[in-house]
Symmetry: C2
Subunit: 338 residues, 2 copies
DNA sequence: TTGTAAGCGTTATCAA
DNA sequence: TTGATAACGCTTACAA
């Protein structure tokens, strides 16, 4: 099979001829100007329909200097993204929904490799999009700051680690963790460990902070092992904790995937959940309700984060002023693991 | 915070002036023409670097009639997509990887609602992209066929149900299911039930076909309940099967999510897996290795499907002839549930 | 209210 | 090998 034909598309010119008006008038009608007489609008619309006219976006964008598209940049990081993680798909979905309403296109870019990152930089700084959304940053990526300085609308998921003053949307990580750890304390747990997330991501950092502050405030020890939000890392961290603190009676994991792995590791080690050890995760991915036992976790609305980021970006692109940050709420969902 | 500045980007003209050559020559150098004298190429490249010149894609696309972008159309269908499903994220990832290598953009479009579908149709038929990828079709969507007839390169995930002759890439559903059901039979199962997928999707249809053919060939009864690939639907279908066929000793579920729900439902009903009932899923999502017990399932390479679809599309867009279909292999992964 | 005409930044066709 | 110059299809002052 092959593609390729020479289907000539009708242009404004063709519509104008057919409707017996000028190109300018057709343009006005197509763009919804109200200054055109009703009968003429009618004639133009008929011509558009008959010819199957669709505006050439390249031509339009050439003169308007807008592209009507927004880039969503995702760190690719090997298998992490899109593996079992629901965060990125959720953000994509939220962004897509909001952009659809604004009739703008979503251009997805992976910035995992150095080449990918370079490509993203070239593309975004080249003003090929009206704005850029960053879904989760690793380390202190300077790109958001650079774009912001160039006057290109940018919104990040989570506060940028390089200290750049770029608008961002995040969830109340510390508040969520605090509630989770307090829940453990109130249920009599005293050897509360934590499987922390990666410390080069703001979510990893903040969730660890929430844990530290809460156990310390209660006069309890900080017992931490590190993972990177994935199941494999969660299993490894759980093993470390069991070895280092055999008397542990609770685990707060910074992601549901790590909590899921912890559940299994604990079972393999002969510990009963929640009888011997209570476990709480973070994210409330769908799987959390189906683990054995069902996972108590901190919920936040992933899709809503994507939507809110996009709304902020669209305001920025429209020249409106916005808050530097928006923090979405988190909520403790108590199931059976704690 | 606000966006908006008047950062004037340098144009070809500016580079030409700075390098002391014509616009045409700069264009040649930028596009890698070999007919330009080396010293001049050098001068142009320096000017490009100094000015930070980035080509205006809209202008280029206006004259080349190419957009260097490809649309990936996904059915949105409420919570289904992007919920816990790893299929769509996997396809996105594969497409993104392959397009990155080809230096083309990935435009993601959701076609769940009627409005969304209409928007996709307008955008793709309007030739705003060089090709269109369809990730999983519901029902007999005429759009792929329409686009193909317009000469717009199209590749689908799975054979289109409306019989349109559109190139597609799929996995060997029937072969995979056949191996799974035979495995159950070989292990002595005789009351083999199936939780089928939605019958308006090719994957749902083919996986059911594979089940029917295999049990029938073995002289066993067809015992089917229907789901839509989600966990909720899987739980409901499992309940139905337990009620209708209390003596069942095996379940083949057309998706891992449904199999996961079946596992829980069986446990709640007091059936032991695999002792009383063997369970096999399909997809081999990451969670499959973490269910209780770990799920035996049919694996296929999700990301590879996305990559292969994209490779085919790029060939088509380049004017090459391609096979009407490419079928990727499936493999039975035996864990503990069967 | 409508039309004229001047770009927008490229690429491509010719000549030179 | 290089340079004019004419498109590409649209929007938008400015005129009428």
């Amino acid at each position: 099979m092959t593609g390729m034909t020479t289907a000539q598309r009708p242009t404004l010119e063709a519509v104008a001829r057919r409707a017996g008006v000028s190109r300018a008038t057709v343009s006005r009608v197509v763009n919804g100007s109200t200054t055109v007489a009703e009968p003429i609008q009618e004639a133009v619309r008929r011509a558009v329909a008959e010819l199957g006219y669709v505006p050439n976006l390249a031509a339009r964008s050439l003169v308007t200097q807008r592209t009507d598209s927004v880039a969503l940049v995702m760190p690719e990081e090997a298998t992490r993204v899109f593996s079992d993680d629901q965060v990125f798909p959720g953000i994509i979905r939220g962004a897509a929904q909001e952009l659809e309403a604004a009739d703008k296109q979503l251009v997805l870019m992976l910035a995992g490799s150095a080449a990918g990152h370079e490509r993203v930089e070239r593309y975004t700084t080249g003003r090929h999009v009206d704005g850029v959304l960053f879904a989760s940053l690793h380390g202190a990526d300077p790109l958001p700051g650079t774009l912001a300085r160039l006057g290109i609308p940018v919104v990040c998921a989570g506060r940028p680690l390089d200290g750049a003053r770029v608008p961002y949307v995040d969830v109340d990580n510390v508040g969520g963790v605090t509630r989770a750890v307090r829940h453990l304390i109130e249920n009599g747990r005293r050897r509360i460990t934590s499987i922390a997330g990666p410390q080069d991501m703001i979510a990893g950092i903040e969730r660890l902070t929430g844990y530290r502050e809460t156990v310390t405030a209660a006069g309890l020890p900080e017992l931490v092992a590190y993972g990177d939000f994935t199941r494999e890392s969660g299993a490894a961290a759980m093993h470390q904790l069991l070895t280092a603190h055999p008397d542990l009676d609770a685990v707060f994991a910074a992601s549901d995937l790590m909590a899921h792995a912890a559940l299994r590791t604990l079972r393999e080690a002969g510990r009963r959940v929640p009888d011997d050890v209570a476990v709480i995760g973070f994210d409330d991915i769908e799987t959390a309700a189906y683990t054995e036992p069902p996972l108590t976790t901190v919920r936040w609305e992933i899709v809503e984060l994507g939507r809110e980021m996009t709304r902020q970006l669209l305001r920025l692109a429209a020249g409106e002023a916005i808050e530097e940050s928006v923090i979405l709420p988190t909520e403790l969902v108590v199931r059976e693991s704690a």
